[in-house]
């Protein structure tokens, strides 16, 4: 017996798999020194993205099977993606403030728009799908 509809599990599992692979690729690139301005090198930031990737990927198979543990890992990954997306958004704000205070020579939104932020935006539709499956769940 499955915990939720297999079809929904497959959709959510497939989305998580794609996100997991993207997070993993970008995380590894960051750990190994980055690639241009779009993906700057960031050892620990890259490590965090790899951890998010591992969390998403851990839930893929069981989501396909309709097991709630699969969904658990996807929700865990969503939480982590939100934490790091919001963290880098705050850091972007801090950089802007430093520029306004005259402590930074330039402030480039493009350079500060780190992968953790745009990946977080890509995660939002998955969050919506996961929310649909967990409407009845309490804390």
């Amino acid at each position: 017996m499955t915990d939720f509809e297999i079809g929904k599990g497959k959709t959510i599992g497939l989305y998580a798999a794609v996100l997991g692979v993207v997070y993993l690729a970008i995380g590894v690139i960051e750990v190994f020194g980055g690639a241009g301005d779009a993906i700057p090198g960031d050892l620990f930031g890259g490590f965090a993205l790899v951890v998010i990737a591992a969390t998403f990927l851990n839930g893929v198979k069981r989501s396909f099977d309709g097991e709630h543990i699969g969904l658990s890992f996807i929700i865990g990954g969503l939480f982590l993606a939100a934490v790091f997306g919001i963290l880098y958004l705050l850091l972007m704000g801090a950089d802007g403030l430093m520029f306004l205070l005259g402590e930074a020579e330039e402030f480039s939104v493009v350079a500060d728009f780190r992968p953790a932020i745009w990946l977080f935006l890509l995660v939002l539709p998955l969050a919506y799908l996961a929310r649909e499956l967990t409407k009845e769940v309490t804390w």
Partner: protein
């Protein structure tokens, strides 16, 4: 009980207690039907055997990245304020000795410590959010697995986490550990956990020397502290306090969405301790340091030639001990006075570098006091060497003996020299200067 049931009495009692609670809940509470809860779901992830520790490390890094990078502009604002206040006092006070006291002593010394109010409050806010969400006790549970395998007591990790705020309540919290050997080990290793007072030193040196990687440098210090605490606990378990650790029973609260008001209150409760210290012990030490740095008044030309001051004499006399690390006499003075309170390390630089327009961090770089390698070794030294005098007092009270505070001071000082020496030695082998 152990003989009859074949298990530890504490575990059996906890199990029976929860069975009784579950039965009462079943008959008394009517719940909305759901197959599983978010708490169960998140625990699959955050307590996962393989993922639990990497997730904990990633979140800990996020905390320090937030602490350092997000507080930077607020630190600049406080720095600007004290810079303005110092200039105003220097221009407006006719008596040169009083002007020096207000501008250099209070604004330069105490001001350089108060600049770190934003990162300290940010750290406590982040920790409060983790605590209120229910995650922090999961971190203790996750670490218990590692610690128990090493022969340590899992409950030791809770006072360690409290040590992020201040080592004194963390040492007092060890009273909850019933086994005397487990308790002693936890007390002895607790000073290795970076308290809030060390954060200003990390932020100052990290910010000055490591640029964009400053948050990671601060994070590295916290991880180094935890790793050393576990290593030393293991050594103590194998030597001074032989035996098996008692089992660890920990009640995990359900996850909750942290409330802004509660998190801010927790932040304030912990952060105000720093403000209290700034107004009492740090203030007194700053006055003492200012006196030693401008007198004899004639020889220092009213504090202009600090090389001729009493404090310079003291620093230069002891500096040869630290010469192999590449640290000068100002750093020696910072280490000596840091024993009274770790924040004083920062105040010492604020006073001795006599900075005006530029920040203390910029002055450290422009005067060439540190390279990234020697600066990192210094951060490690401040993390490890003798804890502040108040922590030593707490160890004395909790162990009811002078033997253990003295032992703590000696072993930590030796360890600080070994670790800093290793950082410098390995760094030089790798080609760093």
């Amino acid at each position: 009980m152990s003989d009859v049931f074949g298990e530890d009495p504490e575990v059996i009692l906890a199990e029976r207690r929860y069975n009784a609670i579950a039965k009462i809940m079943e008959s008394a509470v009517r719940k909305k039907e759901s197959k599983w809860t978010f708490t169960d779901m998140l625990d699959h992830v955050f307590l996962h055997k393989a993922l639990g520790i990497p997730i904990f490390l990633a979140l800990l890094w996020a905390v320090f990245q937030f602490t350092f990078a997000f507080s930077e502009p607020f630190m600049v604002m406080v720095e600007m304020f004290f810079g303005w206040l110092g200039g105003f006092a220097a221009d407006g006070i006719a008596n040169p000795q009083l002007a020096s006291f207000v501008a250099d002593g209070i604004c330069g010394g105490l001001g350089s410590v108060l600049v770190f109010v934003p990162p300290i409050f940010m750290l406590f806010l982040a920790l409060a959010i983790l605590e209120d969400s229910g995650y922090l006790s999961r971190a203790a549970f996750v670490m218990d697995r590692v610690m128990y395998k090493l022969g340590l007591h899992g409950r030791s990790f809770i006072p360690m986490i409290s040590g992020f705020g201040c080592n004194i309540p963390a040492i007092m919290a060890t009273r909850s550990i019933e086994n005397e050997k487990d308790r002693m080990i936890t007390i002895l290793v607790n000073p290795l956990i970076s308290c809030g007072a060390r954060l200003p030193v990390y932020v100052l040196i990290g910010g000055a020397l490591f640029g964009a990687a400053a948050g990671s440098a601060v994070f590295a210090m916290y991880v180094l502290g935890i790793a050393l605490a576990i290593l030393m606990a293991l050594i103590f378990r194998k030597t001074l306090f032989k035996g098996k650790p008692a089992p660890f029973v920990l009640e995990l609260p359900r996850y909750m969405m942290p409330k802004a008001k509660t998190a801010l209150l927790h932040m304030w409760e912990r952060g105000k301790q720093f403000l209290k210290r700034a107004g009492t012990i740090i203030f007194v030490v700053v006055i003492l340091l200012w006196f030693l740095s401008v007198y004899p008044w004639a020889a220092t030309n009213g504090g202009e030639i600090i090389e001729n001051s009493y404090v310079a004499g003291l620093g230069k006399a002891i500096q040869p001990i630290f010469a192999p690390f590449g640290w000068d006499w100002t750093t020696t003075v910072a280490i000596i006075f840091g024993f009274l309170a770790k924040e004083v390390v920062v105040a010492t630089y604020g006073l001795l570098l006599g900075v005006g327009e530029e920040s203390v961090g910029d002055a450290l770089v422009s005067m060439g006091l540190f390279t990234p390698l020697t600066g990192f070794a210094f951060m490690a030294f401040v993390l490890i060497y003798v804890p502040c005098v108040a922590t030593i007092g707490a160890i004395w009270r909790e162990t009811n003996s002078w033997k253990w505070p003295v032992f703590t001071m000696v072993y930590l000082t030796v360890l600080a020299f070994i670790v800093s020496g290793l950082i410098i030695g390995i760094g030089r082998l790798l080609g760093f200067t």
